[in-house]
Every structure is written in C-alpha cells, then in structure tokens.
C-alpha cells in the first residue's frame, strides 16, 4: 500500500520538460470558458440553510424569566430584568399566584458569539434561531437588541426542518433507512422490537433532559416528517449509487440546484448515469433566473429552497396547498381502534406501559385529525385548516413600515398583554396558533406521557 504511494510520488518528482507548464495554462484556459457561478451579493443573496446561525429571536409570551439563558451564555451578553407580580387566585379560595414579569430582555450582539447555547438551553422555547445577518450598525450601542427588536426577529424564524432518514425522533419508532420506502408517513414501519425499545430507552433520558420541550419537539418534528414537500417523494438515498427512479433525480436536482447553483451536469452523470438531469437542471436554472430580479429591500433568492425547509413559497395569507392526499372517510380507522391497536403492538414489542400508552395516544390523535380532514374535504371545504406547528410560521420579512399608530384592536389586545394565553395570540405578524403559543401552562394537543 505505502509502496504504491511512494511510486506515484517518485513519478511526480521526476522532471518534466515544460509539459507541466503547458498543462497548467490549459487548466486556466478551460476555466476561462466555464460558466461562472458567482452570486452577486447584494442584488442576489444565497439561500441559507434554516439552521444558519444569524440572529436570535425572542418569543416573549413563552419566556418565564428562568434566567437559564443568561446564566449559560459564555459571553454573558444577555441582560434580563424582571419583577414579581402577585395575581389573584384562579378559583375561589385558592392562594394568590406569583408571576415573573419580564421587564428587559436584551442580547448584546456585539458580544454574542453566536454559539446557540441560550437557544439550546431554554426550556420553554422562547428563543429561536433566525438566518438574518444583515443588521450592521454604525453605532455599537445599537447592536444591543432589546426585546421589541428581538420579538420582531420572530417573523423571520423558520420551522424546524425535516431530519434525515434514520434519525431518531422521540415518540416515534426509528424509521429504517431504505431507498425503496416511499413517502415518509408516520405509520409504524418495519422497525424491529429491539429498535423500538432502544429508541424508547434513548427517548427517556432525552425526556429527562428536556422535559417540557419534548412535547413541542415531538409535535414539531413529527409534523414536518408527515408533510413531505411536494416534488420529491422519496427519501434521500444513502449513497447516490442507490439512486433509483425519477424521484431521486428530481431530489438530486433540487438539492444540487439549491446547494450548488452552477452544478456541472457531469456530476449528475457520474452519480446517476442519465443525461436527463441536464435538461431539468436548465429548467431549474431558468426558473431561478426568472426569480432573480427583485426589490432591493426584500430578500431575493436565487433558487427555491432545498427540500429541507418546508417553507411555503406563497404568502401565508394565501391558501396553503394541501401536502397530503385527503383521505376518504370510509377508509379511515376510528381513533379508538387506532389507540387499541398501537397499545397492543407496543405492549407486544415490549415497551413500558407509559411509553405504550403515550404512543397509543399519539396514534389516536392522529387518527382524529385524519377524520377531521376527511370530513372537511367531504363537506366541500377546499381549505383544510393549516396544521398547527410548534414554531411560528415563517413569513416573508416585511419592509419597514415606519411609525404607525396602533389601531383600536391592537391597542386593546396589547393591553391584555401576556396574560392571555389563548391560541389567538396578539395581532401583527407574529400570529401563533396551536400548541406553540400555549407554552407550558396550558397543555393542549399531544403531549408526552406526563399528561
């Protein structure tokens, strides 16, 4: 083995006679005529991944002023002020409740090292990553973002992304990695009992680690796993050697189009052996080019986001396109039957009673949702309700409006303040629905076994 390298090395050390010089020049000439894939910032911006660490956004309603983020920050750049308030008891004869009220929450981005420990450690999901990075200021004091600005950043936060095949999502059996498996639904796939118990066992320390978080994590990560993006229908193959079918090509194109704006067709030829990719690549490019000219304020993107960010392309106000075929009412399993079935399966597989019950409850809720959808579709309602997600929906960042006097309702809603823990939330671009905004105080939707 080592001898082999040595011989190549010896051969490389031999003197050439000017031939190498010409070869070097030929390389440059070749590159002179190749297509250029330079992204001309700031007219065109690169499509960053959803996990990119840009700026940290604060969801004020969720913050209980536990101070964990300020404590864990390695740079001590989070400044929190709060005071305690006493509220009247909820019911007659109860004791007065004490609340922490957040006075000041500021992150000094001049100090922040963008490590994300605060986001990771927050037990109530009040901090989120956003991919915005263009907030340079002339005055360094402006780099300390107060809680109003941090709340504004929430409109740029993306929902959590779908994980790769084989990832262990707490609350669900581990999906086996196979190129043949079709759409990533959440039915109990061919997971061996050992897998199930081990994942359950792994799930438990995770639950212990992040107890209140697991609830929203389970809901949020389960849901993107359900709603597969439109075009690619198959999971990513392990190696491109296993590529099969058009789905893989499309997926490869999408990813190549996203990740490598000027991916050469030769790459695809190597991995897939088809020439079809070239034509489609041209289509994707044509589409990308037509998207290129844009207003300077809005974030222009060169290509559609990769499959990993299930962000709707249209404005959220428009009708969200259904991402799954709407089932027929007759085909569906009754929720109670689903509960019983999963409970039996899990008990047979050897899960502990709590885990079995939890999974059965999950299956029941899912079945209930399917029934609701079928009923809605059957009643000619063309707009199925958007599924609530734990994280706020991403919206296009709106251009700055400037000072606008708040309307009556906003003023009214604002004064009610954080004490209203309903699903409606407050007006403005931070519309939150579903389990996310409820926070830990109101347990709605699916939760873990701590119900």
């Amino acid at each position: 083995m080592a001898l082999d390298v040595d011989q190549r090395l010896e051969k490389a050390r031999r003197p050439g006679f000017g031939v190498g010089l010409l070869k070097g020049m030929a390389v440059l000439l070749k590159h002179l005529f190749k297509r250029n894939d330079v992204i001309q910032y700031p007219e065109v911006k690169q499509d960053l991944s959803p996990r990119t660490r840009g700026v940290i956004a604060l969801k004020e309603e969720n913050c209980t002023v536990c101070m964990l983020c300020a404590r864990e920050c390695p740079d001590w750049c989070i400044y929190i002020d709060s005071h305690k308030e006493t509220l009247p008891p909820k019911r007659e004869g109860g004791r007065p409740r004490k609340r922490n009220v957040l006075d000041r929450f500021a992150i000094d981005y001049a100090l922040c090292m963008y490590c994300g420990i605060c986001v990771e450690v927050c037990p109530y999901d009040a901090l989120f990553w956003s991919r915005e990075f263009e907030y340079a200021e002339y005055d360094i004091r402006q780099l300390t973002h107060e809680k109003e600005k941090l709340s504004d950043w929430m409109s740029t936060v993306l929902p959590p992304i779908e994980l790769e095949d084989g990832a262990d999502i707490p609350g669900l059996p581990t999906k086996a990695i196979s190129a043949a498996s079709a759409s990533p639904t959440v039915e109990a796939t061919a997971a061996s009992p050992a897998n199930v118990t081990s994942s359950a066992a792994e799930a438990r320390p995770e639950q212990a680690q992040t107890a209140p978080r697991e609830a929203s994590a389970a809901t949020t990560s389960a849901r993107p796993a359900e709603t597969a993006p439109d075009a690619p229908t198959g999971p990513a193959p392990e190696t491109a050697k296993e590529a099969s079918g058009l789905a893989e090509e499309v997926k490869e194109q999408q990813m190549d189009a996203a990740a490598e704006p000027a991916a050469e067709p030769e790459v695809k030829r190597d991995t897939q052996g088809t020439v079809q990719a070239e034509g489609s690549q041209a289509e994707v490019e044509a589409k990308a080019e037509s998207e290129t000219p844009s207003a300077p304020e809005s974030t222009a993107v060169t290509q559609t986001p990769p499959a990993m960010a299930p962000v709707p392309d249209q404005a959220p106000a428009a009708t969200p396109t259904p991402t799954r075929p709407v089932p027929k009412l007759e085909d569906l399993e009754a929720p109670e039957d689903a509960y019983g079935r999963v409970l039996d399966e899990q008990t047979k597989a050897g899960s502990s009673p709590q885990v079995a019950e939890a999974r059965a409850k999950v299956a029941r809720v899912k079945a209930e949702r399917e029934v609701t959808r079928a009923k809605a579709a059957a009643s000619q309602d063309a707009t199925p309700a958007p599924e609530p997600s734990g994280a706020p929906e991403a919206t296009e960042p709106q251009p700055e409006q400037g000072p606008v006097a708040p309307t009556e309702e906003e003023r009214g809603a604002g004064s009610a303040g954080p004490q209203e823990q309903t699903g409606a939330g407050s007006a403005g671009p931070q519309e939150q629905t579903g389990a996310g905004s409820a926070g830990p105080q109101e347990q709605k939707g699916t939760k873990g076994p701590n119900d």
């Binding site: 010089l21 991944s49 990553w129 779908e162 084989g166 990832a167 990695i177 081990s198 680690q209 490598e260």
Partner: protein, 393 residues
Amino acid sequence: MADTPKVLEPELQNLQDSSAFANEVSEGRLVTEQMLLNVGPQHPATHGVFRLLATIDGERIVRAEPVVGYMHRGYEKLVEQRDYRQITNLISRMDWLSGINNELPLALALEELMEIEVPERAQYLRVALAEMNRILNHLMFFQSFAAELGAITPTFYAFREREDIQYAMETVTGGRMHFGFFRPGGLKEDVPKGFVDMALASVRKVIKRLPDYEDLLTGNEIFKQRTINIGTLDREVAYSYGVSGPIGRGSSIDMDVRRDEPYLVYDQFDFEVCTGSHGDCFDRFWVLLHEIIESAKIVEQALAGLPPGPIMGKVPRVVEAPKGEVYIRTENPLGELGFYLVSDGGRRPYRIKIRTPSYSNVSALPFVLENTLVADMIAILGSFFFVLGDVDR
C-alpha cells in the same frame, strides 16, 4: 561595535561564528555584514502573527528563530471558568481552520471519564464531519502555499470547493467555521434531510477537481524547482520535536492516530496513510493533497454506511465529569491534538492541558531554515502548515 549593549554581544559573536560562508573579515578583504531581518509579526506570508528573527547573509539565512506568543489568548485558563458545553463552543477557535476537530477530543475525553456509550449513528456522523473539515483545512493550506509561491489562481479554485463543503456543514450545524456541534455522548442534533446527498456531492466535486490541482501545481516545473529538495526536515529532528501530521508524514514518520489508535469508528474504514520519503516541501505538499483523497474516501464510507438510530447516548441533564484525569489523542488535520483533562468532579474542568500540533511543528523550524535562501524561507513557512491559534492557544 562599541555601542552595542552588553547583553547582545554573545549574540553578535554567535552571528559571526556561525556564518556558513567565509565571512572574510578576518582575511581583511571583503567586508560583509550579516543583517538581522525581522520577518513578521506583520507579514503577508506568515499565516498570522508569527515572528521569525532571521539573520541573513546576503540572501542566505544563517539562523532563524521563531518567536511565538503574539496570539496567546489563555485558553487553558479560560476553560477553567466555563462548563463543558461552553468550552465546546469556544474551543473551535483554537485551530480555526479545522473547527470541529478541536471539539472532538473534548467530547471523547468526557465520554471516557463519564463512561458514556455513544450511539453508532453519532460516531459515523462525527467521522463524516471531522473528515469534511479535514478536507476544508487541507484545501486552505493548498491555496495558501500556492499563493506564497506566487501562483494566485489556485486560491480561487480552492475557495470554490470549500464553499460547497462549508454549505453542507452549515445546513447541519449552522456555522461555516465555528460549529459547536459535538456534545459528550453524541451530537447536538441530527442532520437535516438531504445532508447525506449534499455532503457526498460536495466531496465528490473536490475529488473531481483534484487533477486540475495536480496539473496546476504538482506537475508544474517551476513549482517543482521551488519545492523539491527545499526545506528538508530530517526524520530524527522531526521525531525529537514531536512533529506530526502531514509535515511528519512528509518526513516519512509513518504515524497516524486514526490508524494506530483508532477512536470513534475509524477502525471500520478503509483508508491509506500517505507518507513522503524525502521530507522536503514537495513531499509535504504531496501528502496534503493525497490526504484529501483519503478523507473523501472516509466520508463516502461513513455516509454510505450511516446506521439509523439516536444521536445522543445516555447523558445526564447536567454534564459533570467525575473525579479523574484522561488524555485523549486525535488526528487533527494539522497533526496530533491531545487533551489532558483533569477533573475534580464538577461542571467545569479543573485543568485542561492542550497539546497542539502546530506548536511542536513550529519548534522544528530553526533546523529546517538553516542555510536556506530568503525566498525558500517563504516556501518553507508555507509548507509547514501551522495555524497561529494552534501554536499560541
């Protein structure tokens, strides 16, 4: 030299005695003087704030003494006041070109002390990310070496390749240079959908373009004239100074921690360890280029065989290492990186001693630079792949 301060006189005596050429002062004919040239700390070619006190006689270097410490940030003291997750995020700034390889020994050390079993999927992903970072590091040094020799074009080619890999790592970790991703017990979170394909595509692209680099540089006669038999690092000197990594392997020290004391799952992968036999700049560069190919092989194998499962082992909520000490060695792209962790039971380490590869590599410089030309000094410094953050911590 009547006005020379007393303390410098032995130095000057040294200068005149150790001249390689007949300094014909004694003969009374040609009077030449040796010049003290201060290379750095501000210099385009020294990879950072590195200072070299070179005594030159015309164009020939008589003596060269590296002066380090201009970038000392007190890492080993800093980490005594931070808990392990905070250290993980800070430590990738030590050798900033191979960020995630700096976090690895820390995670391994804690796993050994706390006796945590890391799931297979996490191991494989760790290997894949570490090797991708190795490719990033090697591409960076490839371009800086070429730029110092005067070839301006490889810089842009290398950076273009780095972009794809960095984008892939950004989708996973959120950062392009500083990652903060490894945790004791596994990873922070699992990889997003499509990562495997993206990573494989980016790595394959690098491999596809490597013949271009061969044509541009290793096949170029001018490059060969500048690097063959220049800056030969003697094997014995390298051994005694603990030179490791591509530099050591270029001097035919056949040592690679990944193969000799496998950590993570390296024993399951099939890869070669490239060595050079002459110890000159060309061999070091050759080893660097071919390590890229080997790393790409490992990435392919790791991602092809990625098992399903969790990415975090059984770790208590608060990471506290029990009392004890452990020394973990890993193969940083620049050489052997060692963490000696002493813990007295708590959230913060009692002491971490970091054995960095660049520090040892730089100590061998005086032996290599003796009797070389000033222009060769630049080539040699370029071929001695070191990062100042690694040298000084």
